[in-house]
């Protein structure tokens, strides 16, 4: 258990929480405001992450342009997903969105010549021999950790620098998102969440509102993908399994889907759950190996979702009355 006392553990937890916080922010605006059940959100993260890796390694683009194009592609694919399937009602859209993310993943898995296939970004054809895609941002991360050294000493790692990059963005995005959710635009969306005939009969183009929400959420998903790509410096198709979307959903449900600021707390809780199970060494968990214990997080996260749904469907910060009105 001594791992929990190590600053390095908490730095990792917080960096992860920051990235997943941005990821869940995309789901929050889609579901918490617009009522759109997107179960394929991970696809956006996969697209922007892989776009960076491919453009930088294979075509020697600058990381920054690649990241920009990655986010733009995530947004465009969000729009494509919406234009083709958003007319489906709730549950059917959810199914279509899973299919979308799976198609994306299988495409990555099976186009070895571009994406490196099963071996991940390590196997992307590398004409210039640069061996990775993070050289440019790493210079900045190193610069940051050099500045942090006097304050944190040996703890001034790359992870800590990531923390100092991701969290300001997370807080900025939450601030923007909460401002956006105070507009009448968001009010119309909240109405569509319950009933789309009313806003339509009052002159609101419901499809446009929902499509915009899907695209905004996809942009957040894409940005989360940029930070993910940066954090792990290596991508593989199995990083983008369906479960990742549900990690985002857990964060969202824990916070309360309508409470954007709650994401800050629930993302940290998620980061802790995600990172900690490996280090739970007491009996009977000590009978399992460390990688086996790491997978306990999947059980734990599932358990937390079920528990919340039964005991506190409004999440930690939501209002119960919002859930029970008939």
């Amino acid at each position: 258990m001594s791992a929990f006392l190590q600053p390095g553990f908490w730095i990792f937890v917080l960096a992860l929480a920051g990235i997943y916080g941005i990821f869940a922010l995309g789901l929050q605006i889609q579901y918490g405001v617009g009522g759109i059940m997107n179960f394929g959100h991970v696809g956006m993260m996969a697209i922007s992450g892989y776009t960076i890796a491919v453009l930088v390694i294979k075509y020697q683009w600058s990381f920054w342009w690649a990241a920009f194009i990655g986010v733009v592609l995530a947004a465009l694919l969000g729009a494509l997903l919406g234009l083709t399937t958003l007319r489906l009602s709730g549950d059917y859209f959810a199914i279509a969105s899973i299919a979308f993310a799976e198609i994306t993943r299988y495409w990555i898995l099976n186009t070895d010549s571009i994406t490196g296939g099963t071996q991940g970004t390590l196997a992307i054809p590398d004409p210039a021999g640069i061996g990775g895609y993070t050289t440019q941002p790493d210079q900045i991360l190193t610069w940051i950790s050099d500045r942090l050294y006097p304050l944190f000493g040996e703890e001034a790692s790359r992870d800590l620098s990531m923390l100092f990059v991701v969290w300001p963005f997370l807080i900025l995005f939450i601030w923007i998102s909460s401002k956006l959710q105070q507009t009448s635009w968001a009010r119309v969306l909240r109405a569509t969440r319950e009933d789309d005939e009313v806003p339509r009969s009052l002159g609101k183009n419901v499809f446009r509102f929902r499509l915009q929400t899907l695209v905004i959420g996809s942009v957040f998903g894409g940005i989360a993908g940029v930070f993910w790509a940066l954090q792990f410096a290596l991508l593989a198709p199995e990083d983008f399994l369906r479960i990742v979307t549900f990690y985002g959903w857990m964060i969202l449900i824990l916070a309360g889907a309508t409470r954007v600021k709650g994401l800050l707390v629930s993302a940290i809780f998620f980061g802790f759950l995600y990172g900690s199970t490996r280090f739970l060494e007491f009996w009977p968990l000590s009978l399992l190996s460390s990688p086996e214990r790491a997978y306990l997080r999947v059980f734990l996260i599932g358990f937390v979702i079920v528990l919340l749904m039964v005991k506190r469907p409004q999440g930690l910060f939501g209002k119960r009355e919002e859930m029970v009105l008939e």
Binding site: W185, E194, R200, S201
Partner: protein, 266 residues
């Protein structure tokens, strides 16, 4: 214009030409035609299943006509989206009083105001314009709520309202959109008689001051007797009578439709 209840204008605001709709084998509206004069008050009555609400769904674009045309203010609207029809000033209410339960009562009303700069994402950066619009929308919402006695619920979730109160909210919300023509689907069912009287006064006032046109569905002829210039009677998807309220009272066909056709068989 000697008759007090006659239309105050000869201009046609809405024209329905031979519209029909069928869902599978069911034909809720069959070959219905009528014209509505601007600033008039017309009631559509008829027994259950006569096709009244289906007619409204067609006019408001929620369902598309199988055949026929609908012209509003000189423009064909039968093949355009519901929200575009609403933007043209043709607003409807719903039979079941559809309210947004998880918005506050005031928010339900404020949503209806047209031309809100905050409804567009580009309006996000026009903070001042948005705030001013919201302030005036809220003031208007509170005025409307006061009119129907709901102002004390302004900041409560609309989901706490009773059935009758929901009707009032639905009606007030439609009025917030400042329509040139309003389709009201049984707005008075389940509302207490004193309030019905008051609402009728409000509608009459709107008609006078804002030249609004009304088309209203009602079960009960008595309620709309005094306020209507004209009554259209529907049964089995067709118009069976159309005329001044008094003439409808004595119409044999109407009596048959309401009491069933057994009288004739007997």
């Amino acid at each position: 214009m000697t008759n007090q209840s006659a239309p105050t204008s000869d201009k046609t605001i809405l024209e329905v030409k031979n519209i029909s709709v069928s869902f599978g084998g069911v034909k809720p509206v069959q070959d219905v035609s009528f014209k509505i004069a601007e600033n008039s008050f017309t009631s559509v009555i008829g027994p259950n299943g006569a096709g009244k609400t289906s007619l409204f769904n067609l006019i408001s674009g929620m369902n598309k006509v199988s055949s026929g045309e609908i012209i509003f203010n000189g423009e064909a609207i039968h093949s355009i989206h519901t929200h575009k029809i609403a933007q043209k000033g043709l607003i409807r209410t719903f039979q079941g009083a559809k309210i947004i339960k998880r918005l506050t009562v005031a928010e339900n009303l404020m949503m209806a105001v047209q031309g809100n700069p905050g409804d567009n994402l580009s309006g996000f950066f026009r903070k001042k314009a948005r705030r001013e619009f919201e302030e005036s929308a809220r003031a208007e919402a509170l005025r409307r709520l006061d009119q129907v006695g709901l102002s004390k619920f302004a900041d409560e979730y609309a989901g706490i309202l009773s059935g009758g109160q929901r009707k009032l909210l639905d009606l007030s919300r439609a009025l917030m959109a400042k329509p040139s023509m309003l389709l009201l689907d049984e707005p008075f069912a389940g509302v207490n008689p004193t309030l019905v009287e008051k609402l009728l006064t409000v509608l009459a006032q709107l008609r006078k001051e804002h030249a609004m046109t009304f088309l209203l569905i009602e079960h009960d002829l008595e309620t709309v007797m005094n306020i209507s210039d004209r009554v259209i009677v529907m049964a089995d998807g067709k118009i069976i009578a159309d005329g001044l309220p008094n003439s409808i009272y004595e119409n044999e066909v109407v009596i048959d439709a309401y009491l069933g056709s057994r009288r004739k068989d007997a």
